[in-house]
């Protein structure tokens, strides 16, 4: 084999294999999920033939659609707020010599990570319900605020990790050439930081979509998200209807990725 001569420096033995295995394992349960969405039977575990009935059932179940849409809206808002706030905070807390309050900020920003969800949930219930009574507003804003807060550390850590690996040379050079700080940020810092922000946003989005406990305690009437709707079903039986919804979600995200891929290609 001509492996030795043609070898790519970037290859590490076996890494690609492990990566492929990881991807395989990531999608294996998804495959099971999609297959059972087409189950004719009532269960997620017993196969009774092919049918589209659960797709019809999901399409006519307004509560599920409502909940799914609400989940996505909350996740998009919370992840946006969180990744913007986290980017700013990350810039403020990296690439500097220690200054008073730095450690404090670090601990503060990571605090939502360290408390079990149920505690934050009960605490938020107590505080938010007082505010709801005072202001008379009981909309979706509380959920977005709560989600933004616990999403911030998830967005912050990858962005910060990225920043720590960037040196200040380019930015200093630009500043020396009389670029305004904003221009330096737009033209140099932000493009370099992009993978970190994307990673952070994605994490925040996913974390928000997953949240059950905090949402359960903060939601007001008619504000079920998909996870809290399903939590309610946990005691009884979950039907393949949720598989059908998940399948539609998957399809939607695959389309999104494909679109993203083609847009990127055109740019390149």
């Amino acid at each position: 084999m001509a492996r030795k001569r043609a070898f790519d420096l970037r290859n590490q033995t076996g890494f690609a294999t492990v990566a492929m295995f990881t991807f395989f394992m990531l999608y294996l349960p998804m495959a099971a999920l999609v297959v059972y969405a087409f189950n004719a039977g009532n269960s997620m575990a017993i196969w009774e033939g092919v049918s589209l009935r659960w797709f019809y059932s999901a399409a006519s179940n307004e509560r599920v659609q409502d909940a799914a849409l609400r989940s996505v809206i909350i996740a998009a808002c919370a992840a946006s707020v969180a990744s913007i706030a986290a980017t700013m905070a990350a810039i403020a807390t990296t690439r500097t010599k220690p200054y008073p309050g730095l450690t404090f900020k670090y601990a503060f920003i990571n605090q939502p990570l360290m408390v079990p969800e149920i505690v934050t949930a009960v605490a938020l219930l107590i505080v938010f319900s007082r505010i709801k009574v005072w202001t008379g507003y009981s909309g979706i804003g509380y959920l977005i605020a709560a989600h933004s807060a616990f999403c911030i550390p998830f967005a912050y850590l990858p962005i910060r990790a990225r920043l720590e690996n960037m040196n200040l040379t380019l930015e200093q050079a630009a500043a020396d050439l009389y670029a305004t700080p904003w221009l330096v940020f737009r033209r140099i810092t932000l493009p370099l930081l992009r993978p970190g922000i994307i990673a952070g946003f994605m994490l925040a989005f996913v974390i928000s979509l997953d949240d059950v406990v905090i949402t359960e305690f903060v939601k007001s009437g008619g504000q079920d998200t998909l996870p809290t709707y399903m939590l309610g079903q946990l005691r009884r039986a979950t039907t393949p209807e949720v598989n059908a919804i998940a399948t539609v979600f998957l399809l939607f995200s695959v389309l999104l990725v494909t679109a993203f891929f083609f847009i990127n290609r055109r740019k390149a």
């Binding site: 420096l9 590490q12 076996g14 890494f15 990566a19 990881t22 990531l26 999608y27 349960p29 998804m30 099971a32 999920l33 997620m44 969180a82 706030a85 700013m88 905070a89 810039i91 403020a92 807390t93 500097t96 200054y99 008073p100 450690t103 900020k105 670090y106 920003i109 605090q111 990570l113 360290m114 408390v115 079990p116 969800e117 009960v122 605490a123 505080v127 807060a149 911030i152 998830f154 850590l157 990858p158 990790a161 690996n165 960037m166 993978p195 970190g196 990673a199 994605m202 996913v206 997953d210 996870p227 399903m230 949720v242 998940a246 979600f249 990725v257 993203f260 891929f261 990127n264 290609r265």
Partner: protein, 307 residues
């Protein structure tokens, strides 16, 4: 004091002020929707528990804190160590630690693989990592069941390939919990790793090879030290949430053995002991925070030496 020093000090002061302003939005949001409410919980931990949940407002008591570590024996009223609490804590730490190690073992090569793809396709790979996570945690956990059940995919594969001839009971064991936690927390490891690897300067790797370093040495001496911030971020993001995991032990572990998250939940639920629940979680938070600060400080210091 010379004026040059004054100017330098002024610049530094302004820099610090700007840095506070920049971090203000994050700090304010977290204060309003996480830390502020938590202060209420701190207060609750010092109150008398209410008969049906909640607390008797304003009545001071240390019972909650006392019960974190000690409890009166149910049957003879002697005071002893609350060994149930301790063994649940230990179990949670052990499982979280293994989860972190496993996600690192799978996540590192995966992140490396993504970071070494051509730039235009990298973001697509990142998306591919996150797509399974767009379906929420509960559905994913149910999907995991299909893999680890006795008639599930994994057992069928093993029987088909002749590794075993009887299904292995994986469901409802610690192995199932680990399986689920690694699966669920994997992107929390891969994404920060990727974010810091993507920036890796491969000329250094090249230099290493030029100096006849083996692959293993290059990995150990060059790559890992350079992506250390990513490893730290990933480990934190995996370890801490798995410590408080609630849904996975409940569904995949069969709910027979609690983890910390379930124990605390019990206090706010059927156990109706909010002060104890509050005291427990503050204890956990303080332990984690302390460990985190020590860890980050050490990791950053040794990172400086390498870099």
């Amino acid at each position: 004091m010379t004026s040059a020093q004054d100017v330098a000090q002024q610049i530094e002061r302004r820099d610090i002020r700007n840095r506070w302003l920049l971090s203000a939005p994050a700090l304010v949001i977290i204060f309003l929707a996480a830390i502020g409410p938590l202060l209420v919980m701190v207060a609750y931990s010092f109150m008398v528990k209410g008969d049906y949940g909640d607390v008797r407002f304003g009545e001071f008591s240390l019972d909650g804190w006392f019960s974190v570590l000690f409890w009166r024996d149910i049957f003879d009223d002697t005071i002893g160590l609350a060994d149930a609490h301790l063994s649940i804590l230990w179990r949670s730490i052990r499982l979280s630690f293994i989860t972190t190690a496993l996600t690192l073992a799978f996540g590192f090569p995966t992140a490396y693989f993504i970071a070494t793809r051509p730039p235009s396709t990298r973001e697509v790979w990142v998306f591919l990592i996150t797509i399974p996570f767009w379906t929420n945690l509960l559905i994913r956990t149910f999907a995991m069941q299909e893999v680890v059940r006795n008639e599930g995919i994994l057992n069928s594969l093993m029987i088909w390939s002749g590794i075993v001839d009887q299904p292995v009971q994986i469901m409802y064991t610690d192995a199932a919990i680990l399986f689920g936690m690694v699966y669920v927390y994997l992107p929390l490891m891969v994404l920060p790793l990727y974010a810091s690897m993507e920036k890796l300067d491969f000329r250094l790797v090249e230099a290493g090879y030029d100096l006849y370093a083996t692959r293993a040495r290059v990995l150990w001496r060059i790559i890992i030290p350079l992506v250390r911030p990513g490893v730290i971020a990933g480990s934190i993001l995996v370890f801490i949430p798995s410590l408080g995991a609630y849904v996975i032990p409940r569904v995949l572990g069969g709910g027979k053995n609690m983890m910390l998250g379930n124990l605390i939940e019990l206090q706010f639920g059927a156990g109706r002991n909010w002060p104890l629940g509050a005291a427990m979680s503050i204890t956990v938070m303080l332990i984690v925070m302390l460990a985190l600060l020590v860890y980050v400080r050490n990791a950053t210091r040794s990172g400086v030496q390498h870099g």
